[in-house]
Every structure is written in C-alpha cells, then in structure tokens.
Symmetry: C2
Subunit: 147 residues, 2 copies
C-alpha cells in the first residue's frame, strides 16, 4: 500500500488488540494503516474510499465494526465536530483528550492538558455540576495554514 506510514502506530495497536484477546485480521490491519496514514479525521466511507485507491476492498459495515472496537480500546477517537475518526496520538496521560481541527486543511492535533481539565471541573463545580468528562474541540487555523 502506498504512503501508509507510521508503522509504529499500527504495530503497537495490533499488540493492544492481541493482548485484549482480539484477532489480527486483514480488515483491522487495513483500517489501522489507513488511519495511521492521515492526520485528518475520516468517516467510514472516507476510509473505504482511501483503501479502495490501494485496491483493498472492505465492506463499510466491517469498517464500522472495526472502528467500534478500536474506539473501545482507545486506539481511535470519534471527532464529533467533523464527524470522523482519527487515531489516538497520545501516550495515555492524565486529562481528557481534546482536539484542534484546522478549518482550512482539516488536519487534527490532539492534546491533553491537566490544568485545562482542572479549570473545567472548577467551572462546572461553581455551577453545582460534577463533571466527569470534558469534550473539547476547537476549530481555527493550524500553524501551516495561518497566512
């Protein structure tokens, strides 16, 4: 397959799959490779099309099921503001994961910031709310797309 890079992601993801008792299959490997090759979120149909270009056919139903599994294992995230999936790029840290989505090139940058989480919890608490999870997705321009 062409420019599917980031072997490291695929390799470690496969290990996670294995050790969680799941099988290594062609569809799972292909979806991981496709996700590893792109920085912008992709929908199940995007993934299917991308794979098709490499002459690899997967049923979109299979892609849905693979993504569901990968999400459970925290290997990929669903990005609500753009309706697509990206591979997780953070070593499991502390706070919730947030996303910066470039409105120009579509590229996504993931972050995790404990102090932001703390501030969010405090803000919620001030309103009588006990926050358990923070969804943070910011849109704007990435470094490369600013003039």
């Amino acid at each position: 397959m062409q420019q599917y890079n980031d072997k490291k992601f695929v390799k470690s993801a496969l290990k996670v799959l294995r050790s969680a008792g799941h099988r290594i299959t062609r569809p799972r490997r292909l979806v991981l490779e496709a996700l590893g090759s792109r920085e912008a979120p992709m929908s199940p149909y995007d993934l299917q099309k991308l794979l098709q270009e490499g002459d690899e056919h997967l049923d979109v139903v299979t892609i849905y099921r693979v993504l569901e599994l990968l999400q459970e294992l925290n290997l990929v995230h669903k990005v609500l503001s753009v309706g697509g999936y990206v591979r997780c790029r953070l070593e499991d840290g502390n706070g919730c994961h947030g996303y910066l989505v470039c409105r120009s090139c579509g590229r996504l940058q993931e972050f995790s910031d404990e102090s932001l989480c703390r501030k969010e919890d405090e803000l919620a608490a001030r309103l009588g709310f006990h926050a358990e999870h923070h969804l943070s997705e910011f849109s704007g321009l990435c470094a490369g797309c600013q003039v």
Copy 2:
C-alpha cells in the same frame, strides 16, 4: 398546550424572528414553545413526538427547517454530544457557549466563561494553532442528581 412554559423565551424569540425579516408561523411558534418547555436537548423527532402529545402535528421536515433557522439566529444550539437541540439561555455575552449535560436526567446547563476561553486560546497558541471557536461539552451529574 399543556406545560409549555417560559413564555418570555418564546416572546423574545418571536421578536428576533420578526426583526430579522422572518414570518411568525404556527410551526415556528410551536417549536419555540416546545424548546422553551424542556431543559434537555431534543432531536427533531423528539420535538415532533412532544408536540404530537399536545395534538399538534408538524412534519419533521418542517421541524428541521425551523431549527436550522433558529440556529442561524442563535436562538437554539445543537448539542453534538447528545445529538439534540436546546434553546439558548444566555444573554449574548462574550465567550463561546459551553454545555454541562447531566448523564442521569439529561438536563443541560449552558455557560459562557471568558477566562476559560482565554485559557483555551492560550493552550491552542502554544501548539501553534489559532483557535477561532471552542466547542465545550462536559458530561457528569447535575446538582439534583448527585446522590
């Protein structure tokens, strides 16, 4: 119609509609009343069902179109994490609007916090990103649902 309260919201929303050059119609009034009566986000189909209970029938297509318009006018927000719409409860302030969604009762509380926005911008800037909009939706337990 039964418990559709918060007349104030409906009244001022109708005024906004009017002054933006839109007509006051039965569907628009009904959707506003329904949204005004609930604190949890509702989908177009939820709204249709709720209205049906009051023996008011609206085509779901109409509801979609009304919601689209109300969203443009910033009278309602779409909450991505739960896939529904809520009426806006904030006087137009400064920062982006965020949401606290109770995972137990579904109720939503809206907030706008300038210092959170500032922190979010700074965090993004540190990553070379120029943030223009912040999506913040936190889930947890509201005051009433904590033990």
